[in-house]
Symmetry: C2
Subunit: 243 residues, 2 copies
C-alpha cells in the first residue's frame, strides 16, 4: 500500500531525531521537506541531511502563519499534494515528509495529509512523533515543564493576547509559541501576571544563532525570530510540593 | 565534572528513543532506572535494554502518585540520591537516570535531581528530552494534537475533576494523563462537555497489552491501567480553518 509518512525531526539538533525517524528516512523512496522558497535550504532539510545523510526534495509552503487560508496558501497545499501523488505514480511506495518538531503539533503536515487524502483515499497516512521545541528548551534551560498536579498549556501567540493572559492567570506552566512578532506585548502580559521571574525564552534552538535567556522587554522595534519559544513555569515550593 | 543526566526514553516503543538518548546511554558509566520494587523489571528498564542493550540498575520509588509527599516517598528520594552519589564516589563520571516519556514532563527525575543537588551542589544536572505518551498516542490514533491557533492543555487526572471540566470548557485540545482510576468520572465529564465523539483513549502504549480506542464508560468497577492517556481534540472544520 502506498504510504505517506509525516516524520517529526525535532527542533534543530540532529541528534534529537528518534531511532524510528532515522530508520524511516533511510527506508523511504522519496523524502520531501517544506521550505518557503525553492532556492532556499530549509531547516528540516538541514536536520535530515546531518542526521541521516538524506537529501530531501523541496516543497514550497506559506509557513509564516499570517492571514489564514489565503489563496496562495491553499494553492501551495494543492501543488504539494500533487507533487507527492506524482512520486507514487512514478513508482514510489513510501514517501516521507519531514516536519520540524512533531507532525501532530502545530505542523503543516496535517494540511498536506488532508489534501492528499481528499485527492486519493487509497493512500495510507502515518506520522512519527518528534521532540518539540518546548521540550528542547526545557532541557537546555533546566526548567521542569510540569510536575505533580500542575497543568501545562501550549498556546500560539497568534491565538491573541487575551488567550495568553487568560492562561497566564491559571496555576500551570504556560508555553507560548510563535511569539517573535509580539515580544513586547507578551513580555508585558507575563509581567502583569507577576510571572516574569521564572520565564525563559529560546530562539533558533539547535542553530548557530540559538539564544536562550530570561524574558526581557525588547527595545523599540526589536523582534525575536519566528522560531521563538517562551516557557513560563508556575511558582513552585519544596520538593514534590505539587504531588 | 560529575554529571547526572535524566534521559527520556519515550512511552514504550524502543525505537522512539532519540539518537542522543541512545548515545548517552551507551556512554554513561552507570545507568539507573526507577522501579516500584527491586525484584521487578520496570518499563523504562525494558526499553533501554531493547534499544541500547543496557542493563540499568534499579532504584525504588513510590511511583503511584497518591498521597502527596509521604515519609516513604521522601525516604525513597533520599535513598536514591545517595545511591547516585555512591556511584560518583566509586569513580563514575557520568550517571544516567532513565525516565518514561520526558524527564521534564511529570517525571520523577526532577525530585531525584533536586535531592542530589541539595546533597552535592558540585554535580552537574542535565536532561535529554523524550517523546511523551500524548505524542505517541496522537501518531498511533491519527489525531492532530494542535493546529493553527488552538491551545493544547495537558492536565493530570490527579488535579481533580473540576480542573479537567474547566479545561474541557475551552476550545483547545485537552490531554488527560493518569486517568485510569477515574475513568468513569472522566468519561462523564467529556460527555457533559459534548466532546466524547472525537476523544481517543490509549493504555499501555508500546507494550504487548497496548490498547487504543474510543472513550467508553467503563462497566461497574472497571479501571484502566495507570499508564492511560486521553486525548480530546476540539471540533475542527475545513482544512486550515484554525489558522
Amino acid at each position: 500500500m502506498n504510504t505517506l509518512i509525516g516524520i517529526g525531526v525535532g527542533p534543530g539538533d540532529p541528534e534529537l531525531l528518534t531511532l524510528k525517524a532515522a530508520r524511516l528516512l533511510r527506508e523511504a523512496d522519496v523524502v520531501f521537506a517544506p521550505t518557503t522558497s525553492l532556492d532556499r535550504e530549509s531547516r528540516a532539510e538541514q536536520i535530515v541531511h546531518a542526521a541521516a545523510g538524506i537529501r530531501a526534495r523541496r516543497l514550497v509552503f506559506a509557513l509564516d502563519d499570517q492571514g489564514g487560508v489565503t489563496a496562495e496558501r491553499a494553492a501551495a497545499w494543492d501543488e504539494a499534494a500533487h507533487a507527492v501523488l506524482g512520486t507514487f505514480e512514478s513508482g514510489a511506495r513510501t514517501v516521507g515528509f519531514v516536519t520540524l518538531g512533531d507532525p501532530n503539533v502545530y505542523s503543516t503536515f496535517g494540511y498536506l495529509a488532508q489534501t492528499v487524502a481528499a485527492l486519493d483515499a487509497g493512500i495510507r497516512i502515518e506520522t512519527v512523533p518528534g521532540i518539540t521545541a518546548m521540550q528542547d528548551l526545557a532541557a537546555r534551560a533546566d526548567v521542569r515543564l510540569a510536575e505533580g498536579r500542575e497543568p501545562l498549556t501550549l498556546v500560539p501567540a497568534t491565538a491573541g493576547l487575551d488567550e495568553v493572559r487568560n492562561v497566564l492567570a491559571g496555576h500551570g506552566t504556560v508555553v507560548v509559541y510563535k511569539g517573535g512578532r509580539f515580544l513586547g506585548e507578551l513580555t508585558a502580559a507575563v509581567e502583569e501576571a507577576g510571572r516574569a521571574d521564572a520565564a525563559v525564552l529560546g530562539t533558533d534552538l539547535g542553530l548557530a544563532s540559538e539564544n536562550i535567556g530570561v524574558l526581557r522587554k525588547p527595545t523599540d522595534g526589536d523582534r525575536a525570530p519566528y522560531f521563538t519559544t517562551l516557557i513560563v513555569p508556575p511558582t513552585r515550593g519544596g520538593r514534590g510540593e505539587k504531588l
